[in-house]
């Protein structure tokens, strides 16, 4: 009874290296699915939202339609959207039943509904007079939106857009419903295998949290880089400088 301290140390090391690390590696490997789903949906959603926002700016009818569809999609619970994409949309389009692809498509639809609203709200913060000034110089409407409205609305939208990416990262754990073995799904299996549930959920949670922190940190750096000097975008500290 009562081994030497050195023995306890060795035992702990054995426990960590041989018992825990493989499980942690297993969960970490699942994180790739969260990243793939969240990042692909975010980028695809941003591209579609840009187009829809530009369309909304150019035509009131289009703006009304976009707003209506966006409202409808935002009201659908994400799990229902996942199921509908996988079991209704994919068969209807004769697409192969690929769970990962269905996840990406479902979350792209969902995030587009949010991002287009973010971009449109941000565009309305740009002075109408600046658009008129660009047009009065002889620019086409499309160029004026591209060079004058979008650069400014993107700056205004940046924090909200990165919040959206951060919530996508968390929502992507719903992929388990389609059998995607993401970090959280793996943590559940490990919980069952080891008999400890809280600790593995915490491990999975911490991993997702760490990625979210990186995303938000990146957002702050980008905001700082793009901030227009002399405006509050550069930070409140600018006021007292």
């Amino acid at each position: 009874m009562g081994g030497s301290p050195q023995k306890v140390g060795l035992g702990l090391r054995r426990l960590v290296v041989q018992e825990l690390l493989p499980y942690i590696a297993l969960i970490l490997a699942g994180l790739q699915y969260n990243l793939i789903i969240a990042l692909s949906a975010f980028v695809a959603g941003l591209a579609v939202s840009f187009a829809l926002s530009a369309l909304s700016l150019s035509s009131p009818q289009a703006a009304g339609l976009v707003a209506m569809v966006s409202r409808a999609v935002r009201g659908v619970p994400p799990l229902v959207l996942l199921a509908a994409t996988y079991w209704l949309l994919f068969p209807a389009l004769r697409l192969p039943p690929d769970a990962l692809l269905a996840c990406i498509v479902a979350f792209t639809i969902r995030t587009t509904a949010f991002q287009v609203q973010i971009l449109n709200a941000a565009a309305s913060s740009v002075e109408k007079g600046q658009l008129e000034a660009a047009l009065s110089l002889g620019l086409s409407e499309r160029e004026a939106v591209l060079h004058v409205v979008l650069p400014q609305s993107l700056r205004a939208a940046l924090p909200a857009l990165f919040n959206e990416l951060s919530s996508l990262l968390k929502e992507s754990t719903l992929g388990i419903a389609l059998g995607i073995l993401d970090a959280l799904a793996r943590a559940r299996y490990v919980s069952i295998a080891t008999g400890y549930s809280l600790i593995w959920m915490l491990v999975a949670g911490l991993l997702v949290y760490a990625v979210s922190l990186v995303v938000l940190r990146f957002s702050r750096i980008l905001q700082g880089k793009l901030a227009v000097p002399g405006t509050l975008g550069a930070g409140v500290a600018e006021l007292w400088r």
């Binding site: 007079g129 600046q130 000034a133 110089l137 002889g138 620019l139 060079h147 002399g230």
Partner: protein, 264 residues
């Protein structure tokens, strides 16, 4: 002298409201005209129609002899040649002063970068903006500096004519004087200009022919000091009242004495 810009019987409606009701004007090369009139008389709409930022419902605008309101003429061509300086300036707030001046020649005319930069620099020199402000953003500039950059942005396009919409009315006296000096300087150097302004010192310094806009048409035109006398001949009490008020302000500013001589 050749007529640069001519508008004939412009009509513009917004719904039931007839904002322009047969407004006409003509500017010869190098000529400067002042446009006055009460709020809501259609001055801003008139300028926007001359620049084709708004399309008139009826009437024609001729630029250097070409009818730019004719079907098939690209409005963008007209806008590049007829510059418009707004009351609030409306600089692009995410661009520096220099980038604002560069925008027209580089992004609109699509000139090579070095040539566009030359035009932008020349325009900023012309409006007298000190070089140390060139890389500052609009939010870091004073009102007068911002409005001068707005004029430089218009100048860099090398327009045939510049239309100013109350360019000094949002500025403090110092800023207003700065901007007025630039506009008068440009006018004297032969830049064809149409200036909407009730800034009496700018108006007097321009010494230009004044046109009075009233309910969507130009009802009077003549030298500023002759307007009160002319107004009496129109036989509209309200018009006479407006012109007298304008003349009183000029007189208070110590600019024009002709008003008293005309017994108005």
């Amino acid at each position: 002298m050749e007529v640069v810009l001519e508008a004939v019987n412009l009509v513009k409606r917004f719904g039931d409201l007839k904002v322009l009701d047969g407004a006409s004007i003509s500017l010869r090369r190098g000529e400067v005209k002042l446009l006055v009139g009460p709020n809501g008389s259609g001055k801003t709409t008139f300028l926007k129609c001359l620049n084709l930022l708004l399309r008139p419902d009826a009437g024609s605008v001729y630029l250097e002899g070409v009818e730019i309101t004719a079907p098939g003429v690209d409005a963008r061509f007209a806008r590049q040649r007829v510059a418009l300086v707004f009351q609030e300036g409306y600089l692009f707030s995410h661009m520096t002063a220099f980038e604002n001046a560069l925008f027209g020649p580089f992004k609109v005319k699509k000139l090579p970068r070095s040539e566009a930069k030359g035009l932008a620099a020349e325009a900023l020199e012309t409006v007298g903006l000190d070089r140390r402000f060139w890389n500052l953003y609009p939010a870091q500039l004073s009102g007068g500096q911002r409005q001068r950059v707005a004029i430089a942005r218009a100048l860099a396009m090398e327009p045939a004519v510049i239309l100013y919409d109350e360019p000094t009315s949002n500025l403090d006296p110092v800023g207003a004087e700065e901007v007025a000096a630039v506009i008068v300087g440009l006018a004297r150097s032969g830049v064809t200009s149409l200036v909407v302004s009730h800034d009496v010192s700018l108006a007097a310094d321009l010494g230009a022919e004044a046109c009075l806009m009233w309910k969507g048409r130009i009802v009077l035109s003549g030298r500023l000091e002759e307007l009160p006398g002319l107004a009496e001949t129109v036989g509209d009490g309200e018009i006479a009242l407006f012109v007298r008020a304008l003349a009183r302000r000029l007189e208070k500013a110590g600019r024009v004495v002709a008003c008293r001589q005309l017994n108005c």
